[in-house]
Symmetry: C2
Subunit: 195 residues, 2 copies
């Protein structure tokens, strides 16, 4: 049950990516308050493209808000109305050119639930084939394919810091006992992934 009572809600700023609203609320302790919420305009998706040989494709780009270069799984966003799976298929194809025959849902992550309502849906894509990429003009992406174990190591070593990527890699790693389902000829097995 929601212990917050919303008295009114005012949108005070909007752009194509997010809006800001101020909600007049009664807090769980009974006190009147204002809750300031950033509302994401798009539903985020993140995809681990897992090849038959157990490798994955990562994309690298400079992330302006954090002023750092970031290696990540392919990710993006879709309209609130569209199915996350459809957004995931589109983002994967645009960013990397990869088309996947098989999709499996990995879970959700709330990226910053203290003031942001954003949720990202996580997928693993398998039975992949390579087509032409079609990134947005402002996206200068690098693409690399590397063993999934190396992607795990990049998280451990602090090279991958993106929350959506970390959550998706965690979820896929935790399912690796059934890796045969995802990538039949993969050399990965549970003991290798977890060492």
């Amino acid at each position: 049950m929601n212990p917050w009572k919303t008295l009114s809600s005012s949108q005070i700023y909007t752009n194509p990516w997010f809006s800001v609203r101020e909600d007049r609320v009664i807090a769980p302790d009974g006190r009147p308050d204002i809750y300031h919420v950033v509302s994401a305009a798009r539903v985020a998706v993140g995809i681990v493209p897992l090849w038959d040989d157990g490798s994955v494709t990562l994309v690298g780009q400079y992330r302006y808000p954090v002023q750092e270069y970031s290696w990540e799984i392919p990710e993006g966003g879709g309209d609130v109305d569209s199915e996350p799976l459809e957004s995931a298929k589109r983002e994967l194809r645009e960013e990397t050119g990869i088309i996947a025959e098989t999709w499996q849902y990995l879970g959700r992550v709330h990226t910053s639930n203290c003031f942001l309502d954003e949720v990202s849906h996580l997928f693993v894509a398998t039975n992949l084939r390579q087509g032409p990429a079609d990134p947005s003009p402002e996206e200068i992406l690098r693409v690399q394919r590397l063993p999934f174990q190396e992607a795990i190591t990049m998280v451990k070593d602090g090279v991958i810091t993106d929350a959506i990527s970390i959550a998706a890699i965690f979820h896929l790693m935790s399912r690796m006992t059934t890796v045969a389902e995802y990538a039949p000829s993969s050399k990965l097995c549970s003991s290798e992934v977890n060492k």
Copy 2:
């Protein structure tokens, strides 16, 4: 190197938790654009409190922005000027009453790097003792102590969806081969954690 050129930056909204700015930029492809950035007013921290018996303490609260109840590691924020470690010590004590003798840095997570500049610093706290909690009045927190393996399972099963918690649990799990350093009398070992 930053491939974006910032021409000017205007703060257009602010509250105690975040601000919004619009930066006039030249995008990496040479096109003029506006980059809309949410800037977090506080530096986020997340702490895994790991007891000598291998259990951890989690906190539960209703997260208003995502309209869901959320089980998480203790987390919060500190002034940009203060050391993340000091903020972590304060947040852990306020939310759970736990005081830790030993702190170790686990890494960083960028929670939503497409439009938010927020970074969270992750710690594991050990050699713990229990004191009185002192949560903020609006925080109606539940606290539970459970085996670290169960916290991992809560991520796998989609019960824990908070990005900061997932990243911290991932990092601690990946260091569990050296768990003896953290919690000498812990029953956890690498093979148990990773199964």
